[in-house]
Amino acid sequence: MKDVELKMLERAKQLLESGEVARVIGWKKGEFYFDPAPASFETVEELGDFVYNGFCGANLSKYLIQASKKEGKTAIFLKPCDSYSFNQLVKEHRIVRENIHVIAIECQGKLDIEKIKAQGISAVTEVEEEGESVTVSSLYGETKLNKAEILLGKCASCKGKTHQVKDEEIILHEMPAPINNRFDEVAKLEAMTEDERFAFWREQLQKCIRCNACRNVCPACSCVKCVFDNPASGIEAKANDDKFEEQLFHIIRAFHVAGRCTDCGECSRVCPQNIPLHLLNRKFIKDIDGLYGEFQAGETDNGKTPLTSYTESDVEPNNALGGEAK
């Protein structure tokens, strides 16, 4: 990983020094080893804080909505999953492709600090990854862990390690395959009764504090005016006495990205309440695949989405339950 980070840093320096790009979007050091944050670097000096490690799970593509409209070119580091979001943003005319230089980077799967803490390890100072095992150093010593156990949820079911877009690449090692199928959990819920599903979602959704982080982080949520900010909508904030508003927020959010959600996993990653939002998005993806043929948003940067197209023989809504034509 260190070699990849060095190569990226070197390339970022070159691009800024030569004036080829006006800024580079990457990650910079946070307060701790495990909290690097997305950042825009405009000078070589600023690159002193540049970092790329196992905790750079954040998807950078959404930052291009503003950056790509600024003066000068923007270079950006994209992991394989981020490249789907990039294409989707181009398709929706949210970003200006000509102003962007895409550097496809290697990804060995990103780590979840909460899962490391759950193993009883605190004050993490560094994490060394070697294949399937990980050595976590903390103020209290070293621990060896199985990487599969501390991967971010989205990385355990990674869509694949092929970039959908790139102008150049920094890929030095082979990248691992996903360890589980992303639709397994959805299928488990589908197999429950209506009552069980209702109870499951009540329990999950009542934790929501309506911080809107899931919306703000989502590359598919890029409307300039959002219904959730409209006081007349009845859903602009958490109501303290009912269940409806919580459901409504989640139904609208998930439906509005249906057919456009690339399953980048950011919403679940950022949710402070650990609500499994991916299970909502993936239900739509699974149903779309089942009813209208396999579709992966962000595979290309043009063409129609399942909800903006149709066939004359589409299944009737009353017969479509369970996501399969009956």
Binding site: A239, F255, A320, L321
Partner: protein, 151 residues
């Protein structure tokens, strides 16, 4: 404040029907002028096309106290705007599936195609839907306490 009543009121469901101006709304008219009956608790909302129905309309109807929501549009292939109802079909198939995934009873939502000439069918569709919802009972899963009155 709420009064405790031991007598059980008979349940008459609130039904919201979104009807396309070019077909089922006229179908409802025809049902009326042919003296065919459909239950009075069906509240018809006229829309220019079934495709006008944003998923939030359906949700809002439930929020405001609907026990069942039905969309009626032109038969596929007969849309006044040529393709509107094809989009409705996909959108509602996904929405209904999703609501059910969250535990909302699948019988509460329905789409039917009813042409302007099908007064008889309109009446039959509505009677059947009201019967289904009456048997199913009150909508308790997609309601909003802020909206419920007198309870």
């Amino acid at each position: 404040m709420q009064e405790v009543t031991t007598k059980k009121k008979e349940f008459t469901p609130n039904i919201v029907a979104f009807c396309c101006n070019w077909c089922s709304y006229a179908g409802a008219d025809l049902a009326g002028s042919s003296r065919l009956s459909y239950p009075a608790n069906v509240k018809i909302i006229r829309v220019p096309c079934s495709c006008r129905v944003n998923p939030t309309f359906v949700l809002k109807a439930f929020q405001q106290g609907a026990d069942g929501v039905i969309l009626c549009g032109c038969h596929p292939g007969d849309c006044h705007y040529v393709t509107g109802n094809y989009y409705t079909r996909r959108r509602m198939a996904l929405l209904f599936n999703f609501l059910n995934y969250m535990g909302i009873e699948k019988e509460r939502t329905r789409v039917e195609w009813v042409s302007a000439a099908e007064g008889q069918r309109f009446s039959a569709v509505m009677n059947d839907f009201v019967k289904t919802i009456t048997e199913l009972g009150e909508n308790k899963r997609l309601t909003d306490l802020r909206v419920k009155e007198g309870e």
